[in-house]
Every structure is written in C-alpha cells, then in structure tokens.
C-alpha cells in the first residue's frame, strides 16, 4: 500500500484551473487511490440492502440491475416529495462560485468536479432534465442531461469523494448544503447496491454486534479490561468500569474507534480515569456492549439505515433504566445525536433531564434528547473546580485544537472542548482563524472514506488541515493536535505524518486523564502513552 502513495512533490503539484473542455464533456476517469472498494455483498445482505454483488469500479460493467434507471428515477422522485432541502437545493443555486474553493477535496485535488457547486450539479443536471420545464425543452443548453451509465459512475465516484463536512454550506448565500446532496445521492446509489465497503461492513457490524468493528460483547469487555491494566501500570490505580448494569444513573456511549485503535484508545483510557475519579463524588455510570457504538455509518448510507443503527442507544437506556446518556468524543455520531436521534427514535420519555450528579448543573440544552457531550460535562466540572489537575503533566505537548466538522457545523460545539483543553494544559495555540471553528477543515477521511485503498484522496483532502497545523507548528512549536472525533484520531495521524512528520494527535480526554490527580496514585513519570513527562526524561 505504502508504495502506491505518491511522494510529497507529486501531491504538492495541484492545478486549480479547470480543463478546457466543458464539464459535461469531460469524461470522469476513475483513478486508483481515489476511491474505496465496493461493498462486500455479505454486508449488504445482512442489512437487507438490495443488489449486493461483486463488482469492480475500474471495470466497464458494474453489473447493474436491468431496470436501474427506473429505480434511481423513482428514488429521486420519492425523495423530492420528502425532503424540502433537496428541492430547494436543486432549484436555488445561482452558481456564484462562493463555495468553489471551500472544499478540502477541491483544494487538495484541483478537480473541478470536487467544487461543491459542480458536485451538486452532477445530480442537479439529471433533476433538471426530468423535473424542470426548461430542462425538458432545452436540455444541455440549461445544464440538463439524461441519466446515463457514465453519469451514474460519475455520481458514485464523486459522492464518495465528499466527506459531508458542510464547509461549503457556511459560505453559500442560500445555505445549500452539499452534505445533504451527497447523503441523498448516496441513498440513491444504495438503491442499486452501489456502496463502498468501508461503509457497508461497519454498518453491518454495527447492526449485529453493536459497533462498527464487529467487537463481540466479551471481546469488548476484554479490551476495556486491557485498558484498565494499562492505566494501573501508568498510575498505580485500578479502575473498575461496569458493563450493561441495570439501574445505573448514566449510560455512556462512545465511538468504538476509541476502544479499538491508537491513539483513540488513550482517549478511552481518559474516560475510564475520569469516571473512576468521579465515582467517589457520586458518578454512577455504565458502559454497554450492546450500545457499544456512538458512530453511525447509516448517515453515510441512508436516512433509514441511520435510524436503524441509532435506535439502540435509547433502547439500551430504557432496558437498563438509566436516567440520561453521556456521549464520548465523536464527530458524525454527534451530528446524528444532535440533529436526528430525537426525531427518528424519540421522544425519549423514559429518560430524565440530564443533571450532573457532581455539580448539579442541569443540561437544559439537552432537555429533549437527554444526551450530553462529554466535553460539556467535563467543562462544567472544571468550571466548578471539581477536578484536581496538574497541568504540567501535559507540558511536553504544545497543543492546537482541530474542530471536527460535525460538532462545529452541525452542533455548534466550539468552546466546550477549548475550555477543557485550557483547563488541563498550559500550552495552547489556535490555528489561523479561517481554518477553525465554523471555518474548520475536514481531516479528509470523514463520512466513511477512512479506508486504505483511497489513501491519495485522503492525503489530498487532509492537506488544508495539515497546512494550517504546519503553520502553528512552525510559528509556535505546536506538536500535538487535539480533537473530539474518533475518525480524526484515526485519520489525522496518517495525514499529518505525511505533510508534517512526527506530530501527534490526541483526544481531549486523554489530556484530561494525564492531568487528573487520582487518590492513591503513584508519582507519574509518563503520560498514558508511556512517553516521559516534561522533566522526567532523565529518569527514563
């Protein structure tokens, strides 16, 4: 795999001026390194999704069902009656181009079909042909074209080159959200079995075992037990989390990425340490092996799949009789919780208004979903001085914070993680203004594109983020990027390592745990990763 990755010089040569030929006459060349493997038919079958089959993107014949045009047309018509967003976004674009240079994939590839406006036109052109008078009469003259095999391939290629980050939507005078178009475009493609495996298989796993990685209950417990051992090694304190415990006050749900892969695992240890610390102050919390995933690859499949996968959180909280739900650090998990969960699987009448058992703070902003983000919870603890903190234990890290797309542009969670970071670290620097908060850039691997085979796409998409990070690395010596998204923790080490080698990526609660002074702990000489703390290097 590594041999396939173009070197940095090759990837740095990006031309942003479009080709001479008009976009409709510029054929889409499906290029290796820029797409993901097609969905494993077994995964589609498991989810009762249609037309699971073996097919290959580079081959001419995609083995489509015979009546695929009809299926897609019917699907589009149906969605036009169900989503006002789709109709408005199909009708209202004036092609002003304000979005053109906002997409990280356009910035990193220079491919004009990655300009949000043009990505949407791929679908809009077909809409115009079938649903507008001008399109029916004048065709190409008004940007209308029939749905052909090539158009369909183009859809597949470019709708899976969009990470649904919504950055374009911030700048659009009509709020046209390409994420919405991509979501519905992918939904249409799924009607004829055109998904990618990095989405379909995690979705199938999530349906069966509760989490994307297919971790079965006993293995899930094993992994957390392993973290408990690690924590004991570093701190000398044994933490004892509970699982599937009825009657607990709070259910904790986090992305399974944190349980599975570094550096997310250190964030998971962070949660464990924090919960242990708060136990004596009255925190009564349980993990669940059934609801062992906050992430939701249904969002990248269809609205229906999103609802099917999301249902387990409320179901499990009801079964266990918890009062409210606390959610870990994750990106699109939080967009789903914030904007979809209550609508799809609520009302959550079996739960109570979330109230911090430590500070008494009532989370009024979560009054209906009854689900609180862990940085809201921890920021509140820090504010009320409920945590004994030694900030200097994070002094070996000079930090910047990467706003993840969904929490920032789908939720407005901007200050809470910053409050936590500033509460547990001494050295924090912001990246340039136009690259953070609502202007933030995607890691380049969101929305199910975090595979290995599309590494070139991911590195190109990650360039804007890495570039802003490199700026603070060079000006302030920043060496660590903190983030509240499991995909970021999985994807950014790769992207940063390519563009700014040697940097590290951390979750916010890993920082909290490093700084948290536990009762009966040993003197800490290393952080959770076993790396020496500032001033402890000699002792190593």
């Amino acid at each position: 795999m590594a041999d396939d990755i173009p070197n940095i010089e090759e990837l740095s040569t990006i031309v942003h001026s479009p080709p001479k030929t008009p976009w409709m006459d510029t054929p889409t060349v499906i290029r290796k390194g820029m797409f993901c493997h097609p969905a494993n038919p077994k995964s589609l079958d498991y989810l009762s999704m249609p037309y699971g089959r073996k097919w290959a993107p580079m081959e001419e014949d995609w083995k489509l069902p015979e009546n695929w045009v009809e299926i897609i047309s019917d699907g589009l018509r149906d969605r036009l009656t169900r989503f006002r967003s789709l109709r408005i976004f199909m009708d209202c674009c004036v092609r002003c181009g304000a979005c053109a240079d906002k997409c990280h994939f356009f910035i990193g590839t220079g491919d004009p079909k990655n300009m949000p406006v043009l990505r949407a036109e791929l679908l809009r052109s077909v809409y115009r042909k079938d649903y507008t008078l001008a399109g029916k009469l004048l065709g190409r003259m008004v940007g209308a074209r029939p749905l052909t095999y090539d158009v369909l391939k183009e859809w597949w290629y470019y709708f899976f080159q969009c990470s649904e980050c919504r950055r374009c939507s911030v700048y659009c005078p009509y709020g046209i959200d390409t994420a919405e178009i991509t979501i519905i475009g992918r939904e249409l493609l799924n009607l004829i079995g055109l998904n990618i495996d990095w989405i379909a298989t995690p979705a199938a796993n999530c349906f069966r075992t509760g989490n994307h990685l297919g971790i079965q209950p006993h293995a899930f417990k094993d992994m957390i037990d392993f973290f408990c051992d690690e924590i004991e090694d570093v701190t000398g304190v044994r933490v004892n989390p509970s699982f599937n415990r009825k009657g607990a006050e709070i259910l904790f749900v986090t992305p399974s990425g944190d349980v599975f892969a570094d550096p997310g695992t250190y964030t998971a240890m962070g949660y464990l340490i924090l919960f242990h610390y708060l136990e004596s102050q009255g925190l009564d919390i349980t993990w669940s092996t059934y609801a062992s995933e906050g992430g939701n690859f249904g969002l990248f499949t269809s609205h229906e799949m999103m609802k099917r996968l999301n249902a387990k959180m409320y179901a499990e909280s009801k079964r266990l009789g918890t009062k409210w739900i606390l959610g870990g650090e994750c990106g699109h998990m939080w967009r789903v919780i914030h904007q979809y969960m209550d609508t799809m699987n609520g009302p959550a009448d079996h739960l109570e208004l979330p109230k911090s058992p430590i500070t008494g703070t009532v989370f009024q902003n979560a009054a209906s979903t009854k689900m609180v983000h862990i940085t809201e919870f921890t920021a509140d603890l820090l504010r009320h001085n409920k945590l004994k903190i030694d900030k200097s234990r994070n002094d070996h890290q000079i930090l910047s914070f990467h706003d993840s797309c969904n929490p920032s542009r789908g939720m407005g969670l901007l200050e809470e993680p910053r409050e936590v970071i500033k509460g547990v670290c001494n050295h924090f620097f912001e990246m340039p203004e136009k690259t953070i908060r609502e202007h933030t850039f995607c890691c380049g691997s969101g929305s199910g594109l975090n595979a290995g085979e599309n590494m070139e796409l991911r590195l190109r998409g990650g360039l804007p983020r890495a570039n802003a990070f490199k700026h603070v690395h060079e000006t302030h010596g920043v060496n660590t990027l903190a983030t509240v998204c499991a995909i970021d923790r999985a994807a950014l080490p790769t992207a940063l390592d390519y563009w700014v080698p040697g940097m590290r990526v951390t979750g916010v609660h890993e920082l909290v745990a490093n700084a948290l002074i536990l009762d009966g702990e040993n003197e800490r000489t290393t952080d959770l990763r076993g790396e020496p703390l500032a001033g402890m290097e000699e002792e190593e």
Partner: protein
C-alpha cells in the same frame, strides 16, 4: 456547453427579444399585443409560477432539523453563545435570516484561497462578490420601486422621497438616477467575474448569462430612454395606468425603445419562476438557515417517520449469550442447561 456557446446562445436570445420588441412597436397590429397582452400574460405567468413553486416547496416536509451552526451553541450558562449564528429562538432565527437576506451575511464571510509552492495555502478575505451582489440587488430594488410612479396616481410620497434620494447627484436635467447606473455597473461586474475567474467560468451555463444579459439590456434601455432619446413619458404613464386600472390603451406616441424595454421586462417576469432567479423565494426556505439550533432541547417532528427493522437487545443476547455469561456480563435470560 463551453463558455463561447453559452454566451452566444444567451446573446442571440436576448438580441432576438430586443428585435421582437422593436417589431412589436413598428407593426401596428402588434402594438396592442406587445403593449397589453404580453405584459398581462407575463405578470400572470410570474405570479402563478412563483406561487406554484413556493407552494411546491412549502408542501414538501422538512423531516429533520439540519441547521448549519456557524457559531457557538447555547449550552452552559457561562459559555457565550452566538445568538445570530446558532440561534435557539424563533426571534434569533428571524434575525439570522434578516442578516442573510438583507445583508448577505454568508457572502460577507467569503474567503479566497491561494496556494504557493510548498505547498502553502492562504485564505484571504474577499468582499468583491459581496459588494457587487449587494449593489446589484439593492439598486434593482430601488429601480423597481421607483417605477411605481408609472403605476400610481397620485405618486405616493415615499416613492418621491426615494427618487430624491436616488437623484442626489444633481447633474443637469433630467436628474441622474444613480441606481440605474450602479445596477448596470454591478451586472457588468458580475458578468466579467463569470468570464475572468476560471472556476466560475467553468460552472457558468447559458442560464447564468441569459438573465444577466436580459437585466443589462433592461438597464441600458431604461437609461437610454431617460437620458438619450426623447421618450414620451406622458404616453407611457397613460399606457401603464391603463394596464393597472384594466382599461388598457396604447398611445401612438409611445416609441420603439419603450416597447423593447417592456418586452425585455415581460420576458424576465415570465422567465423568473422557471429559473435560478427563484433563489429570491428559496433563500427564505433553506432548512440549513431557517431552523432553530436547539435540536437537543426541543424535539423536531418528522411527518413521515416510519418504523424500521432494528436489531434489538434480545436478538443480540440470543446470539452472544454464552460468551456474555463466560465473560461475566449480566444477561436477561440464563444459559439453558
């Protein structure tokens, strides 16, 4: 379609409209058609078309609350939330929408990306599109309102006021109305921008050039009538008053250029509901902007929400019970035997 073809088609179309308008003035039998019938038809198409489109959008449900949050959410009391960028009240949403519709807030946020070798990427502010768009829309509105003096007798005071304001540059006679010139200038900028910026040129279609040419022609014919040719304003007012009072008449003194102007405007009206110009209505209805950002506090209801097949806990436990028991995890049903 390439840019050359797009421009050619749009230009030919607009020239044909101009020629037709002129023909309508010259051929006596066509004068009532172009002076009365077509304007009536155009207004009818405009009104019915816009209403049909807006109702069509309106009756399509908004199943999920998906606002784009462009600022801090309302959460903990000591964190300052952004009332305008992540509004949590109806009032806040109205303010956000007002800022968007009246001040083009999102365009104001625009940045310009540039890349240098390295690669190093820079994001500078860019306000030209914002300025031109504001100038274009506000002068269009001013011109539109000013024209009510042709449709109202006596001319109401506010319209006279607007004219006085518009004509603050007292250059000779007749008074120069700044709005018309700014409108023409802004439209020209928007056209040049479409041609000069490679990415914008690439996405431009005939249906981007056509309305620009149309509006430019309307502005130019209007300016010509006011400042260059001797136009019979009294005759025009007779015609327009006739139209609004449904006692239509076409005075013989009304000249060719007016007919061209009127036919261009009629075309614009009739074209409006079927084109991107409908962004005028759509901007009010965008679900990413016009919903409150309190989606965790208040439940949003989806009218077509339907039950789905889920994998419930019991199915899950049935599959993994033995493993769970072995790992010491609690189970609902004991292992048999």
């Amino acid at each position: 379609m390439n840019v050359k073809d797009s421009i050619t088609i749009s230009a030919v179309a607009v020239l044909a409209i101009i020629a037709l308008g002129a023909l309508g003035a010259i051929v006596p039998v066509l004068r009532p058609v172009f002076g009365i019938a077509i304007p009536y038809a155009a207004v009818a198409v405009f009104l019915l078309g816009v209403v049909a489109k807006v109702l069509g959008w309106g009756k399509t449900p908004v199943p999920f609350a998906i606002p784009t949050t462009c600022g801090q959410q309302k959460s903990l009391p000591w964190i300052k939330a952004s009332y305008l960028e992540s509004p949590w009240t109806k009032k806040g949403v109205i303010a956000r929408m007002a800022l968007e519709i009246l001040c083009f807030r999102s365009l104001f946020r625009n940045t310009n990306m540039s890349m240098k070798q390295g690669p190093k990427i820079f994001y500078g502010p860019t306000l030209w599109l914002w300025i031109a768009a504001l100038a274009f829309h506000y002068t269009f509105l001013t011109v539109f309102i000013r024209h009510f003096r042709f449709f109202l007798e006596p001319v109401p005071f506010p319209i006279k006021m607007l004219e006085t304001l518009d004509g603050f540059l007292q250059i000779g006679l007749p008074t120069v109305m700044v709005s018309g010139f700014i409108l023409a200038g802004a439209a020209t900028y928007l056209l040049l921008r479409r041609l000069m910026i490679p990415t914008v040129r690439y996405i431009s279609l005939p249906n981007d050039f056509f309305p620009l040419f149309l509006i430019l022609s309307i502005a130019v014919t209007g300016i010509l009538m006011r400042y260059v040719t001797k136009t019979d304003v009294v005759g025009i007012k007779e015609l327009t008053m006739g139209l609004v009072t449904f006692r239509p008449t076409v005075p013989d003194t009304v000249g060719m250029i007016f007919f061209v102007h009127l036919f261009l405007v009629s075309t614009l009206l009739a074209y409006f509901p079927f084109s991107k110009l409908m962004h005028m209505g759509g901007v009010f209805m965008s679900p990413t902007r016009n919903l409150t950002c309190n989606t965790r506090e208040v439940r949003h209801v989806n009218p077509w929400n339907y039950p789905v097949k889920t994998h419930d806990y019991h199915e899950y436990e049935d599959e993994f019970r033995a493993h769970m028991v072995e790992a010491g995890l609690p189970v609902e049903k004991p292992l048999e035997d």
